[in-house]
């Protein structure tokens, strides 16, 4: 098993390395430098793309007239304070274990964070998937496990599968507090709000589930190119080139760069799971307020797994964010450097806003990789 694992890793690395070929990358960079006649502004929606761009230093390979701005595709960043406050309220209940993805524990709520509650004795456990949370529930039948379900269409089918598993195994101490969301409504709000962009670098892993067809309406209705993109340097640079060429040719449309993982129709099985278990609802997005039909809530037949139905909690209306401009950053209307708190009061060690907490947040990426600019 160990040898097989190592073989898998080595094979995987060779596969990834091909998409980090320096010669090809430099060639694409040189091609992009030839388009000098106009400015191009594209939005990368997914936090994974934001981090990849900074990690590999891709922005240093682009000409000055191509600008990338970050969008709301960081699931931690767009999770509202009230969600954190609810999770904290649950964590303070005796006999309760909170199971959460890692980054969420550092996000500030109104008066505390899950990390602080953990330090004060709450049972908060970091998990890598909903299945890990279900496993905790099975091993602790005398406790109530509340799994904080965040993420977009990439993670929602996994959560749906866990709910179905819980039903089958008759696990009755597992609950979900859902903040799952879907991307296209937020992308449309960004356009309607007037954020000035000429195309989207679309999330690769979301699209592996949904298919690229979910972006067709953006190209058709708003005339913006959408390129579904992988996460390696060559993927990202190729996608940017595709968007530039769409503009040059006057032919904005939805295209797939990430063909090794994404099709137009998507993963039908995963979509079925999602649609079986979840129903759309209006959802609060940090930085956007309520976006219609953008959140995923458990259907009524799964009410016994819905934390908000089984244990309703009342929380105070969260305070506004004060000087924090995470909202404007998530909408692509400001950059982290525009924030009065950035780099002074708000730093990764003591974040004010979620964008500085998350490993995929624009502010943390900016802080880690651009503070010399």
């Amino acid at each position: 098993m160990v040898k097989t694992f190592n073989c898998m890793i080595i094979t995987t690395m060779k596969y990834i390395d091909e998409y980090r070929n320096k010669e090809l990358i430099i060639k694409i960079s040189e091609q992009l430098h030839r388009f000098k006649d106009r400015k191009y502004v594209f939005m990368e929606v997914c936090g994974g793309h934001t981090m990849a761009m900074h990690r590999f230093g891709i922005t240093s390979l682009l000409p000055d007239n191509i600008r990338l701005i970050s969008g709301p595709g960081c699931p931690v960043c767009v999770t509202g304070k009230s969600f954190i406050d609810k999770a904290i309220a649950y964590s303070r209940m005796s006999g309760t274990i909170i199971a959460t993805f890692g980054d969420l524990i550092r996000v500030p709520g109104s008066i505390s964070s899950l990390e602080k509650e953990l330090a004060n004795g709450a049972d908060v456990r970091i998990v890598f998937s909903g299945l890990d949370a279900l496993d905790i529930a099975k091993k602790n039948p005398d406790k109530r496990i509340i799994f904080l379900g965040i993420g977009f269409e990439t993670t929602a089918p996994g959560t749906a599968a866990v709910i179905k598993e819980a039903v089958q195994l008759k696990v009755d101490n597992f609950l979900l507090l859902s903040a799952h969301k879907i991307m296209p409504p937020a992308m449309e709000v960004i356009i309607i709000n007037g954020t000035s962009i000429q195309g989207f670098i679309c999330p690769g892993h979301v699209s592996a589930i949904t298919g690229s067809k979910i972006y067709n309406f953006i190209s058709e209705k708003y005339g913006l190119g959408c390129v579904v993109t992988g996460f390696e340097p060559l993927d990202i640079l190729q996608a940017i080139l595709m968007l530039v060429l769409q503009i040059e040719e006057g032919r904005p449309h939805t295209a797939i760069q990430y063909k090794r993982a994404v099709t137009e129709e998507g993963n039908l099985q995963a979509l079925k799971y999602m649609n079986d278990v979840f129903v759309l609802r209006d959802e609060y997005w940090r930085g956007f307020s309520i976006i219609k039909n953008s959140g995923l809530c458990l259907q009524d037949e799964y009410n016994s797994f819905n934390a908000e139905k089984v244990i309703p909690v009342t929380i105070n209306k969260p305070e506004d964010d004060g000087a924090c401009i995470c909202g404007a950053i998530l909408r692509g209307q400001s950059t982290p450097a525009d924030c009065p708190l950035y780099g002074t009061t708000c730093v990764p060690a003591s974040p004010v806003g979620a964008c500085m907490v998350s490993g995929e947040g624009a502010c943390q990426a900016y802080y880690k990789f651009k503070t010399h600019v």
């Binding site: 320096k22 590999f56 230093g57 890598f128 990764p348």
Partner: protein
């Protein structure tokens, strides 16, 4: 307790049978380096080592990177009631073996047993003292570093952190990645004795290579430029980091040291390192520069550039 001390610690560490309240020693030099560290790693046994080996190597390495010759170590145990004797004996054997390999004596110690739940199996503190030749006095402060000096590491990074994470059984994988836990005093001594001008050394423990580089640029006020292509990392470690979303530059090591070699000495340093079993995969990874003072610039493997910042929080696996 007296029986435990005599039959286990005194016997295994080769201590004087007559127990006194303090050990009396004579150091080789008038100036000495003195360090202390406590070890609380979980789990206490991991691939490639255990808490005991870690405790010995950690303190020996802290002395060695200041330029001192480690001579004597003290050890203090806090043991949770109920720890199996076999586990304690394994740890003590490990410490005795490592101190013998390193040529450093454990000469004094203390033991406390606490109630169940008051500590996590076993905590160990080691303190160490070493002799410091005046030639090497400035190594720990880096006061002689200047632009053009070269940065060298003695091998592949990230193994210890991945080995310990895997042993915690939280990540759902097993692998044959071993901790690099090792005493570096003899390796470092061979470099110093070669005549190569070493301006600074530090071991790459918590916070990894990135933390040490940032500390170095902060204390010197100079910039640092490193090349991602030249940083040695094992493929399985690189692959696991890709999957889990970790950056290997921030992962802890327990057998790696960063050397700052005076300009023109880097070839000699590499030659001496590569002749030693603990330096076979040594690489020059970068240099001290005048540009971007106080910042560390990484030339990425794809030809881009980015800052390498200090992480001031634990790395958390990605969500999606």
């Amino acid at each position: 307790m007296q029986e435990l001390i005599r039959s286990l610690f005194v016997k295994k560490f080769g201590m004087n049978e007559i127990l006194t309240d303090a050990a009396v020693v004579k150091l080789r030099k008038n100036k000495c380096a003195f360090t202390t560290d406590s070890f609380v790693v979980h789990p206490i046994f991991f691939p490639g080592g255990d808490i005991g080996k870690l405790a010995v190597c950690g303190t020996i390495n802290d002395l060695a990177v200041t330029g001192a010759i480690p001579e004597f170590i003290s050890v203090s145990f806090i043991i949770e009631e109920g720890l199996p004797f076999e586990d304690l004996e394994k740890i003590v054997d490990s410490m005795a073996e490592e101190s013998k390999v390193a040529g450093v004596n454990i000469i004094t110690g203390d033991t406390k047993v606490v109630e169940k739940g008051k500590c996590d199996k076993i905590f160990i503190n080691t303190s160490g003292i070493g002799s410091l030749d005046h030639t090497y006095e400035n190594i720990s402060t880096g006061s002689e570093i200047k632009p053009g000096d070269k940065l060298i590491v003695n091998g592949k990074i990230g193994n210890h952190a991945i080995a310990v994470l895997g042993a915690r059984e939280q990540l759902g994988f097993t692998s044959d990645i071993l901790s690099d836990c090792a005493s570096l005093n003899k390796l470092i001594h061979s470099v110093l004795e070669s005549g190569a001008k070493i301006r600074f050394m530090r071991d790459l423990t918590r916070g990894g290579l990135a933390a040490v580089l940032n500390e170095l640029s902060a204390i010197t006020g100079f910039g640092i430029e490193i090349s991602e292509d030249n940083i040695p990392i094992e493929e399985p470690v690189r692959g696991l980091c890709e999957i889990l979303g970790f950056d290997p530059l921030y992962l802890a090591n327990e057998g790696k040291v960063l050397f700052v070699a005076g300009e023109n000495y880097h070839k000699k340093v590499l030659q001496v390192l590569k002749d030693h079993p603990l330096g076979l995969n040594s690489e020059m990874i970068g240099e001290i520069v005048e540009a971007h003072p106080g910042k560390v610039m990484l030339n990425t493997a794809i030809g881009g550039k980015r800052l390498l910042d200090m992480h001031d929080h634990i790395q958390l696996p990605r969500i999606c």
